[in-house]
């Protein structure tokens, strides 16, 4: 159990670092979506199903969609 949790935390931090280093904003947004998704699994392990649901439906789905719409209206690459 603790090994699974550690791997999930590691994957979450790797995704966050990926969001930091990608120059392509669309890839960075997908990486931050992955952070939210893994965080929602960790919330579930922490016995917080309400928060896990909110994070999965709001953090992973709606926020990503809003980011993608905003990127479509501006520029995709960071110069």
């Amino acid at each position: 159990m603790i090994i699974i949790v550690s791997l999930l935390v590691l994957a979450m931090l790797v995704a966050a670092v990926a969001a930091l280093i990608y120059r392509d904003l669309l890839s960075a947004v997908i990486a931050s979506c992955l952070v939210s998704l893994l965080a929602s699994i960790l919330f579930f392990f922490l016995q917080a199903p309400d928060v896990a649901m909110a994070e999965a439906s709001i953090g992973a789905a709606l926020v990503t969609a809003i980011f993608v719409i905003a990127i479509r209206r501006t520029k995709r690459y960071e110069e």
Binding site: A48, P49, D50, A52, M53, A54, S57, I58, A61, L62, A65, I66, I69, A70, R73
Partner: protein, 229 residues
């Protein structure tokens, strides 16, 4: 220069926060109010989900403030994006393929039903108005993806939002006249534990929150997608 300053600042913050984190024990009970809520939530509010009874029972006034923040943010977003006399419409969009559009027609009612399931069962199972509202908003997002030119019925969304906000406040005011005479008092019968029609005003408020959050978030997405010239 900026990066160096940032890294130094980050290192200082990191050491400080790290030291204080090591002092907080993991996995031990911390707050007494939490124990009180767990012990008494069932008798006080009639809801089996303690988180729900905290959000819309004990701290309902706080939730009213939160819903207001969400409303103001949606309003501010509309104000920021609106330009005076601008032409509204969406340019550069292609019709979606048949798989997406036909799949959307079939799935849209089911997603709405799922959202309604989540917020009507907020006092029994995990979930509630905020999660259900987000699910409903994502159903409208699917509509935007499948037919990009389509707009939601803006007056309908505003009406839903205002009526559900009014229901929330009206229930709170009714609590002043009935029962224990304070704002947002639970004046309806609490019913049997673990059945759908229980917990007094909690399911009613959560339904209102669900509809309000759903229409607000759908409106936010709609405002962001709109091209103003």
């Amino acid at each position: 220069m900026r990066a160096t300053v940032g890294l130094i600042l980050l290192a200082v913050i990191g050491v400080g926060v790290g030291i204080s984190l090591l002092a907080i024990p993991f996995g031990a009970p911390k707050t007494e109010i939490g124990d009180y809520y767990i012990e008494n939530a069932r008798e006080d509010t009639g809801a089996t989900n303690v988180v729900t009874s905290v959000v819309v029972g004990y701290r309902a006034f706080d939730t009213l403030g939160e819903v207001t923040v969400l409303f103001v943010a949606a309003l501010g977003l509309g104000a920021v994006l609106a330009t005076a006399g601008g032409k509204r419409g969406r340019s550069g969009v292609e019709p979606a393929s048949l798989i997406l559009s036909a799949g959307n027609i079939f799935l849209f009612p089911l997603i709405l039903l799922f959202g309604a399931y989540i917020f009507t069962h907020g006092h029994l199972t995990p979930g509630g108005g905020f999660q259900g509202g987000a699910v409903i908003a994502s159903a409208f997002l699917l509509v935007y993806l499948s037919s990009p030119g389509k707009r939601i019925n803006e007056s309908g969304a505003t009406l839903t939002e205002s009526v559900s906000g009014l229901v929330f406040v009206a229930i709170g005011l009714l609590g002043l006249t009935y029962g224990t005479h304070y704002f947002l008092a639970n004046f309806l019968p609490k019913g049997t534990l673990n059945t759908l029609f229980s917990a007094g005003i909690i399911p009613v408020i959560y339904c209102a929150i669900g509809l309000k959050v759903g229409s607000e978030l759908a409106g936010v997405v709609d405002n962001l997608m709109e091209e103003t010239e």
